[in-house]
């Protein structure tokens, strides 16, 4: 029996690892650090996890929000989303995912020294991370999009997620997406 116990534990651990692995290795190609950083936690209402490997997706555009928000942003898309952008396909097809990364904007003394009169701004720490996932059936009530916002790897509150769709509604003509593809 003593021999069986460790085997059972090993099997249980292996089974857990297998359960843990598939949802985050779907996209493939991500580094080990990405896997470890991907939480199992899901967004309220929409049930979304952080898609694996999103940091390596193609760039849709960059952006900035001024005022007290004071951030720099990057919008990345998976292959389905980027293809739709380039071909002008609207609505976005099922499977499209758009990631919005944002960081505090900070000054760069090192860059300013090299640039003279030019002021350089770079990114500090991340603020939060947002995703829109297209599934026209599952998310029929919210324009076909599921929404998620993560701060420090953890999904934000249900109250916050209730504000996603109403805020995106004015962009109905472009399938609820504000971001345009940067030339």
């Amino acid at each position: 029996m003593k021999r069986i116990a460790p085997v059972l534990v090993a099997v249980a651990v292996a089974a857990l690892l297998i359960v843990y692995a598939p949802p985050i290795s779907v996209q493939g190609g991500e580094s080990a650090s990405t896997i470890l950083a991907s939480p199992i936690l899901v967004s309220p209402i929409f049930g979304l996890t952080i898609p694996a490997g999103y940091r390596d997706w193609k760039l849709i555009s960059v952006g900035r929000i001024g005022g007290s928000t004071n951030d720099l942003r990057a919008k990345l898309g998976n292959d389905v989303a980027v293809k739709a952008y380039r071909e002008g396909t609207l609505p976005f097809p099922d499977g499209a995912i758009i990631a919005r990364l944002a960081w505090h904007e900070v000054t760069s003394e090192e860059n300013d020294m090299a640039l003279g009169d030019v002021r350089s701004f770079v990114t500090g720490g991340a603020t939060n991370l947002e995703f829109m996932v297209k599934d026209s059936k599952k998310y029929a009530a919210t324009g076909g999009w599921g929404f998620a916002q993560f701060t420090g790897g953890k999904p934000d509150s249900e109250a916050l997620h209730k504000t996603c769709f109403p805020c995106h509604e004015p962009a109905k003509a472009s399938d609820y997406i504000f971001t345009r593809y940067a030339p």
Partner: protein, 183 residues
Amino acid sequence: MKRVAFLLVAVVTIAGVAVYVVTPSGHAAEEASPIYGVTIPPGYRDWKLIAVSEIATGDKSQLRAEFGNDIAIKAYKEGTLPFPDGAIVVAQHWMKESSPGNDQVLAMAPMVAGLDNPKSFVPGSRVNAQFMVKDSTKYAATGGWGFADFKDGKPGDEALHKACFPCHAPAKDHDYVYTRYVP
């Protein structure tokens, strides 16, 4: 004879069309940067994102994205310095424009309630694209990097390219590259 002449005209026309079609699709910008002879690497807009940034001079600003080919991204992620031969880093610059449409939405958005003056900025027209190509043998005199600055697909002049390396020299500790990878 008339039939032969017609055929000849047709053949010449087709050949002309073929030459016209093949040339632009082969390498759109065959023009190389002065001093370094660097051409625009095909497909760089789809490369992985290193970072985003902003530059301001007077009342004009740019939003910027830095991309890397796979060799550069791998070196960034693994902290490899100096960058290995074959690494290419791109800085794509756009004019920073305000987005009145986004501002309207932000003013109503419940999630930004309490935030002071959240103004949206997006990329406008392209300004220029800059490339750094690592070849420690070919570019030994300039830290192993070849430089290029293109505007609308055309390389800048020799005077401009003479300014590249001196401006990057202060970043010697980071192999002459200012941009850091943003996680």
